[in-house]
Symmetry: D2
């Protein structure tokens, strides 16, 4: 079986990828089934592997698998292996570490204080350094996942309570994390001090639910209560008691703005705003900032659709499906050798020739990463007879890597990392190319603009301003410098 991400194969995909989704529920008689359904709604956040751990008051049970949630948790048998009123789960794209089954979360350990399971969305940017220290003291790691560092820090903490141990551990950790933790005492959900990765909270009857996005609450019929705040630890006991802690005091929040641009589902609420409306707003900003004399607005489906609707409404141009997306993308295909050049992209996207033939079109996509797909889409429009192709992008140029749990190519492979606007336009062979401005993006999410002194979001992929130190990266560059090797800026 082919377990690879169907969206990453061939040229059909050229996106940044959120690397994980987490879900937890406590106090529900069918916790594992709810968890499976919730993770299914988060499938877009990670398609490579999935795991669920449950607790029935006495034992922890774990089931992991490669592939999609539906490939692994659709049967009654699979759910019956996970008894109990508490369950937590994880979908995974790839993140730090290889792809073996032992890296599939939730990770679990029997500590002296009892069982401990954790599901983690994010990335710890000093994990290598912490691991070296732990191994030198005799710790044995079973995975290559950065998340296991957290478990070892908890296991070796001298503090008495689990909350104190966890706080002690997380104080040593730098980077981004949204955690769902299970112990025999209950569930805890934690978000890093800047809240880089999302985490929300809901209710389903007496049960308390945590999830990366509100759509996971919707699918199980839970009510969205509020987000877990940046730097907040929420503890939930089996009797339903909820306690909130802020062990790191108050620091300014910097949630990931790319959740609005692409990562979250449009029907989610992120940072108190509708993602769909944010995307439509970006399209409207783009129409105002970068208008275009054309006949049609055509989205690159599906991620470009909300911005294209916004662009069309603001510009008054008709919105048309000039590109049709297949529901059956599947994996890399053997290509017939003498077929047209673009069979790869055509498996996913096909021109709606009758619509675009002879027309001047505004193509709307959410972002440009390597630019390879954009080039092929522009070419496909021209092959279908489009007279002019104007490319409008619903985010600023993506010129910097992300170290907070997002799969980004090396800077040298990012189109905006190696070219200016004119060169990018030339590369994708569009008649014109324009991006929304960084301030336009901030306006679209309801702010007056970007606060340069203290940005309201993490926007490092656009600006290169990272909100945390990047210890492992710095160490690697030091080592490479000593070895006189060329240092790659953003790998």
């Amino acid at each position: 079986m082919n377990f690879t991400n169907p969206f990453l194969n061939g040229d059909g995909d050229d996106k940044l990828h959120e690397e994980c989704g987490v879900f937890g529920i406590i106090g529900a008689p069918d916790a594992a089934a709810a968890c499976a359904l919730g993770l299914h709604a988060l499938q877009h956040r990670g398609q490579e592997a999935v795991g669920i751990t449950s607790f029935d008051g006495a034992e922890f049970y774990t089931r992991r698998g490669l592939g999609h949630v539906a490939d692994n948790f659709s049967s009654a048998e699979s759910i019956a292996e996970l008894p109990g009123h508490m369950a937590g789960g994880h979908v995974r794209y790839s993140t730090t570490g290889g792809s073996g089954m032992r890296n599939v979360q939730p990770l679990y350990a029997d500590l002296a204080s009892g069982g401990f399971a954790v599901a983690h969305n994010g990335n710890i940017s000093n994990a290598m350094r912490l691991k070296q220290e732990l191994v030198s003291k005799g710790a044995i790691f079973q995975s290559t996942s950065d998340t296991e560092v957290i478990i070892h820090l908890v296991a070796t903490s001298r503090y008495p309570t689990m909350l104190d141990k966890l706080t002690d551990a997380l104080r040593m950790v730098e980077g981004a994390y949204a955690l769902v933790v299970m112990t025999p005492r209950g569930m805890a959900a934690c978000r890093d001090p800047m809240g880089i990765r999302p985490l929300v909270m809901g209710r389903l009857g007496d049960a308390v639910v945590f999830a990366s996005e509100t759509v996971a609450l919707d699918v199980i019929g839970a009510e969205f209560t509020r987000q877990v705040d940046p730097g907040e630890f929420v503890e939930v006991d089996f009797d339903g008691t909820i306690r909130s802690h802020r062990p790191f005091g108050d620091t300014p929040a910097r949630p990931c703005i790319f959740e609005h641009v692409y990562f979250s589902r449009p029907d989610s609420i992120f940072n108190k705003r509708s993602v769909y409306e944010s995307r439509k707003n970006i399209g409207m900003e783009l129409a105002r900032e970068m208008p275009c004399d054309a006949d049609l607005v055509v989205p690159v489906p599906d991620s470009g659709v909300p911005a294209a609707i916004g662009y069309a409404q603001e510009s008054g141009l008709p919105f048309e499906l000039g590109i049709i997306r297949s529901h059956y993308v599947g994996r890399t295909f053997i290509q017939p050798s003498d077929s047209a050049r673009h069979a790869g992209v055509k498996r996913k996207h096909n021109a709606n020739r009758k619509i675009v033939e002879g027309k001047r079109i505004v193509l709307i996509d959410d972002s440009i990463v390597r630019g390879t797909t954009s080039l092929k889409i522009v070419q496909m429009m021209r092959d279908a007879g489009a007279k002019e192709v104007h490319f409008r992008v619903a985010s600023p140029p993506t010129g910097h890597g992300c170290y907070y749990g997002v799969d980004t190519p090396e800077r040298s492979k990012l189109l905006a990392g190696r070219m200016d606007l004119a060169a990018m336009r030339e590369f994708i062979q569009a008649d014109s190319l324009a991006f929304v401005s960084i301030d336009g993006l901030y306006r679209a999410v309801g702010l007056a603009g970007r606060d340069k002194a203290c940005p309201q979001y993490c926007d490092a992929c656009f600006t290169g301003e990272y909100p945390t130190p990047l210890t492992d990266l710095a160490n690697r560059k030091d080592r490479e410098a000593q070895l006189s090797l060329p240092v790659n800026e953003d790998a």
Copy 2:
């Protein structure tokens, strides 16, 4: 592996289903790879099984599998098992007969005249009677597929040439068929006298290509030449010679109008018209025939989108994604017992609450079959705060079964087969419900209206006027009548 149709699980699907897609190519060095890619583009026509047969000048090779094309034909090894310059394939929903591997097409037999492989889209409505006659003469059937009847009729035909044998066989056959046939002499493509099921023809360099839809030509970069005409047999030799025959003379064509409504992909050209434009036109007709005082037009994605764009453009109401569709539908899930009633449909569709809250919405879907999904969608809109929900359907009421290769529920399960308009509206709990008229539908596909004396399309699912006799059905009703059993009208 997922052997079941992901779209048919649970309540997330309530559609008529086209039951097959066929593809053939002759004269290409990598025929099997082109065939796999072409079938992939036809995946929406059948998700249950797939098969490809190739011929290398000496031997026929066949590979079959359950599930999607990408599950079975993505590897170089799978394609390498299918050498030769001629290949034909089939994707299958279910059609007549059980689901065993032996029913997966292309069917193949060693006849006295040599190898014979056939892929069939359609349904033979006197297959049972023909099979009884053949078995009584000593024929042994290896599948329960109606298509095997054709092979036995060819095998026992006394005519000398393959073309004559095939014509002889098809003269005995009643119903719908679009066939791709392979013999050691070359490829033949045949369409039944009324052309009920689609079949088109294209060119890729020196190779000749046949496919159920033009999108399968697009994906391999082939040029669309023309459709195979109703009643036409096209023979292609290995030297590229093409011969056209019309063994049944001229009969009026009756292609399936539901290809415009739902079956074909919007980017296909069917019966010389853009399917996307037909659907937009239906939406416009609907806006004219059944206007509505509302705030938003919301499509039931994805099949309702083109009609919704048409409705929005004609009515001037804004088009908004009030429902978000998941890309990861997967199979039936174990449901948490105390979750909201509608988790099933929510896995596929989720309300975009911020958009529909407090609004009067026009919901656009392509058709209503059982009505169960429609009810849940309406309820989902109300749960998300919609003030009014007006349901508009881009086809007339579907009140009759199809016997030409489409999976239809029994008439007693078709909403329009058991209720009038008022009852249907009550059933789905919409504030209003309206369907496009049958004449509106004919206008949308470019005609002045339906010609009652000689309808230009097969529209039996709407009108109950079947263009062929239905021998097996009549025989079954006779038998049931003799046994004094109640006869189900349309099962």
Copy 3:
């Protein structure tokens, strides 16, 4: 899963192979479970594939699989798929035809007279000619098995009753067959006029049982009644009525003498004699005919053990396990390149060095086919320090192919087909080599000697005297002669 025959891999095996075992039971409430157990006891007759068909009074059910009985029929689920009081099954080595699942027996067809299932041990030596005739009349074959010819002959027979149709069919057939047939009316067991392949009959309470060997009766606790006689058709109805027919009149029997030598299990009764005793007797004849001045008698385990016990008892030499056989032979292994030459054979057989060191040994094996294993075993004994190695074979030289359902190499690969005794001894590098005489073999099975005019057994593999015409072989040689190709004598 192990699809290959573990005994055929590498050099560890150099035997003739019985190609099938059949089993049938009628009148038992758990027919399929008894059938699985019976086939398991016949596993040595065919390890490549297994199938069981059952009948519950209304429907036939079939389950097939590659590999061993235990791999496919150990679970309650697998047996539950096969309801009913009648079941028949088959284990298969390879026989005529490729290895696809469609060749796995029982074969089944829906005839005009109802369902018809057949399991066949043997080989039809005019199958190709019969198939050509059937195909030219329009028959379509689904397998490449010779057994399917019988089904088509039954299907096209003009006789009224099933017994008459089957007799009609078998009259056209030449070669060897032991058949278990199931129809909605009951079970029939047939053995070819000379009874080349074995078939016995037993009782388990009210149920009637048929099997290739008596061990299959033992394992289910059934009582051995008698053998099915050569040329006999036994019919058993669901009410327990048994009818015996002899449609071909009386012909002299010629059962396969190799069943005594190697094919049957030693605890079976074949042709009214204990196979174990026959083998011990052969060893005793060999000791008398070919005595040897040595220290020890060492069997090549396991098949050489009974003859070695006989040889030791008759000669007074001690019987010792000088070779130890592994229970875990498994499949071909990747060999370390610089290991000793004989790792292949050592996986199966290992010298018991302490026993053979410095000794003069008599090695006893049941037969020599290609001689490759014999050579390695002799070498292994010498490497372990044996002073002299005298090879004694408990059958005459095997110089001719078998066309009656036994897998034999081409004559040019049979050691005795290409060498005389002195050359054979030289080839296997033994100090002496001797075979039992053909008359000694006949004496060991209780006869005065071989009746040259009318041999009491089929011994064609030793004598080249085939008891039936070999039509397909003759046709092939004719064709090859016309093409001036060299003709292989016995392929």
Copy 4:
């Protein structure tokens, strides 16, 4: 797939089971292939799981699987995953810990000092206590195997060199172990101070080989050098340097005497003696100690065969295969309900009726554990017509559990743990029953008799005299005593 031990299913097996075999090779270009072949020859020591770890000078590679060696390591691909000149492997029956893949050895860890892999035959009898201490200091265990304790003790040792760390770790360990250890510096093999479990050493060209038994050397063509002595640590570097250490000084050896009785293959050399000869000797001792007036000696195959040959030779009674063993035991079968009672045992063993009918037989088996199989075998002989059945056992009564890596039932299930001789005879329904004496057993292995003051072997299963403390067992009994629960003597 069924991964359970085919020999333990149903009643067909009633044996003590050696729980592991180990193999290691260093200095061979195709180390992993040799390792697979060696483990295959040790398959009888563990059928449940298998693993191999190799090292190519830079990286360690591991491949594990459930089932047999041949199921997991027969392909070139599987071996190609394990490059390098050093490889070590393990076959596993079950031993301490559950059956998950994470318990399959070799276990591996990245320590601060580099990679560390270990394969272990034996059992650590204070593993629970050591694990508690390690976990309380923050160690995280990934398996439930007692072997992991050794790794954590090495990881946390303060000594500088790997040899010192390992010695430090093993000083804390109590029980039985034969270890093959791999580090980036080379291979080490260690045997516990009393040498309870076996370990031998050999040469294959320049390569050094370690294995549980000499048959694993034979199969790869290696020369048997000597055994690893009790308490010896042998280090082998990549340059071929071999160093021997005895960190525990000299203690009297106590190797497991049951290796002679049943565990080792008859063609192995254990404790400097031929196992086959030991078994024949036991049979001879038994014939002298417990003669019998009978007609035949019949072994319970295969393990009873050598002792039966000895008994026959000493007594002058003929040796005959009165029981035939199937090569295809497979797993538990669904039994037909009304079949004879003994179908289970009959799948493995079948009476050779013609041989035993009307005869007085001496049945020879190697040991009696629960007695359930013995009862069935005796009954099978009577059903086949034996006039008298005298049971002779080639070991003393097995009345005590083993805690050194052997799977033993609770004492209450051992026939000799709950009955005296007369009751045992009554239970198995033999006409007479006798066991070899403990001194007879010691004589058979070449000693004057058992030295009561200082026994030359571990014979605790016969005598209850355990050569080491049993800390975990004692702790468990203490706990159970405090809870006033009944304590099972030997569980």
